[in-house]
């Protein structure tokens, strides 16, 4: 249909093809340069807030809100970072966040993969209803859940524990994990398993030895999603924890906003330090992310 619509415009036949062929041999074409320049300009605009955050974290405390400000700090200093590392509390906060996000990822990916395997490899009664249920739970707004969660967590004696946060985040990450992994598993040919099945491998072993390596992009993408989801949460961390020892990074940063004044200096350094792990995670996983994340996200 699309091709017909375009075919009606047919006029020049071979000429553009020849032109394209010669352009391809010539690596630097003016159009590509213009495009790169546009991308570079846009990249500068997008990176400007981050540039501002990082350079301000390198200013001495009194210079943060100087107007008009210089582009670069005239006397860069690591003073703010010293303040953050000077207290043992921040180390604890960082470890808390990695632990909670890591455990959430493990739970969400494991339970999600099991469910996705069941949903992509079997037909069973109630499967449609189950799909509907999973999609439906994804729409639940977190802000609607804080009071019931608070009551629930209190009831089970989990108030002010990391377990409460892990369970909460895992339950919010699960619907997306199931959806992403189900679509990803569905792309893997079932024949591969049939031969293993004849060799006498059990279902769980097949999931581990055949699906895991083949679905790695999807699994990594799902894991990154679950990790980010729990790493960035502030709402539940505020409501379900109270002691300093339980604080996660977003809460730690927000706690620096006091009643009277804001410790901008420490807050900016902590913000920069908080951003590094996810950037590293992306750099490590980006090979898988582009294929894995997108397939699951778009096909649902």
């Amino acid at each position: 249909m699309i091709r017909n619509a375009v075919a009606r415009q047919s006029g020049a036949g071979a000429a553009p093809l020849a032109g394209r062929g010669s352009l391809r041999r010539w690596p630097v074409q003016p159009e590509a340069i213009v495009r790169s320049l546009i991308l570079l300009a846009l990249a500068a605009v997008v990176m400007y807030p981050i540039f501002w955050l990082v350079t301000n974290s390198l200013r001495p405390n009194g210079e943060i809100f100087k107007h008009p400000a210089e582009w670069l700090p005239p006397t860069p200093t690591l003073e703010a970072y010293g303040k953050v590392f000077g207290t043992g509390l921040w180390l604890r906060i960082f470890l808390n966040s990695y632990f909670v996000a890591g455990a959430t990822t493990l739970v969400a990916v494991t339970l999600g993969a099991l469910a996705a395997y069941g949903m992509s490899r079997f037909t069973f009664r109630g499967k449609r209803a189950l799909e509907f249920f999973v999609v439906g739970t994804q729409q639940i707004p977190p802000v609607a859940m804080i009071i019931p969660f608070f009551a629930l967590v209190r009831q089970f004696g989990l108030y002010d524990t990391h377990l409460a946060l892990i369970i909460t985040y895992a339950s919010f990450a699960l619907p997306l994990a199931i959806l992403m992994l189900t679509t990803y598993f569905a792309t893997i040919p079932i024949e591969l398993e049939e031969s293993a099945f004849i060799d006498g491998a059990g279902r769980l072993r097949m999931l581990w030895t055949i699906m895991r390596p083949l679905a790695l992009p999807g699994i990594v993408a799902t894991g990154v999603f679950a990790f980010i989801l729990s790493f960035q949460d502030l709402l539940f961390a505020v409501q379900l924890t109270v002691s300093d020892d339980m604080r996660t990074i977003p809460l730690g940063i927000v706690t620096l906003i006091g009643q009277q004044n804001v410790d901008w200096h420490q807050m900016l350094a902590a913000s920069v330090l908080a951003s590094i792990p996810l950037l590293v995670l992306y750099a490590l996983a980006q090979r898988y992310l582009v294929s894995g994340l997108t397939l699951g996200a778009v096909k649902q």
């Binding site: 415009q9 790169s36 809100f65 400000a69 802000v143 019931p148 699960l174 913000s271």
Partner: protein, 287 residues
């Protein structure tokens, strides 16, 4: 056999999503929750109270503006960048630019909020830049998040920056799934860039764009972090959105019943948009 695989996940979701969900509906029908005198069934009175509050309608309107404007920015910036990134270029260059443009997605909302408050402060970087460029020379420089007229645009810009990468990623995926030979056939037929976009890219991307709009609506409508940390709903109520109202009713007003009613409204409005999008999407996929 299949039930053994899905059971653990379903169990977790039943206990942690369905049960609290039910509890929330239940709470929206009661008053004096968590009070010593004991809760009291009031039917739909909380909803009636909520609809009588002027603030609810203000928050609803603000939410619609916030979501609508954010979605438009996300589509234009995210879609545009995805189109630029899929054009012919060296692989390493593509990886580099993709990493740059994805960066805001990797910054957690708390840091996004702090960065933009720092940037848009009246002594902040943005005003300094405007001054350097000679745009704002008179009068005291604007306090973006504190100005009645500028707070909402500032909030939308903040969310636009933090949220466009997800749209871009999904656009990239959709664009990758369009068969290359469609474009080649069109080129042979002499179709120009705009014609190829109009007759190949757009029709092929239709369902994907609707999926993105759907997810983006869900995510933006429920966004609590950014408004809470940047403006807190102010100045006045100019940036009061529904999640903030829900939060404020519960934790500042201690009207748990009204807060629950407001939460139910968020859910219903989201569900309405989801069904609407799914219907259009279904029609697109058929036609």
């Amino acid at each position: 056999m299949p039930y053994a695989f899905v059971a653990p996940a379903i169990l977790v979701m039943a206990v942690l999503m369905v049960f609290p969900m039910g509890r929330m509906f239940h709470m929206s029908l009661f008053q004096d929750l968590f009070a010593r005198v004991g809760e009291r069934f009031v039917g739909f009175e909380n909803y009636a109270d909520l609809f009588q509050k002027e603030l609810f309608w203000i928050a609803l309107m603000n939410s619609i503006i916030f979501v609508g404007a954010s979605l438009i920015i996300h589509q234009i910036v995210g879609g545009g960048l995805a189109l630029l990134l899929t054009s012919r270029m060296r692989g390493s260059l593509r990886t580099f630019f993709r990493a740059i443009f994805i960066t805001p997605w990797l910054i957690i909302p708390a840091v996004v909020a702090i960065t933009w408050v720092l940037l848009l402060d009246h002594r902040g970087g943005f005003n300094s830049m405007l001054r350097t460029l000679g745009i704002v020379e008179c009068c005291p420089p604007p306090e973006w998040f504190g100005d009645f007229k500028l707070a909402m645009p500032a909030l939308i810009a903040t969310n636009g920056w933090g949220g466009y990468p997800l749209t871009m990623i999904m656009w990239l995926a959709g664009l990758q799934s369009i068969p290359k030979d469609h474009y080649e056939a069109a080129s042979v037929d002499g179709a120009g860039r705009w014609r190829r976009f109009r007759h190949i890219t757009l029709p092929a991307m239709g369902p994907t764009i609707l999926t993105i709009l759907l997810l983006d609506t869900i995510y933006t409508f429920r966004n609590w972090d950014l408004p809470f940390l940047t403006t807190g709903g102010g100045p006045g109520d100019t940036t009061m959105v529904l999640p903030l109202l829900t939060y404020r009713e519960a934790f500042i007003g201690f009207n748990f019943g009204i807060s629950a009613a407001s939460a139910v409204m968020i859910l219903l409005i989201t569900a309405f948009f989801v069904f609407w999008f799914l219907r259009i999407r279904g029609r697109l996929l058929e036609g």
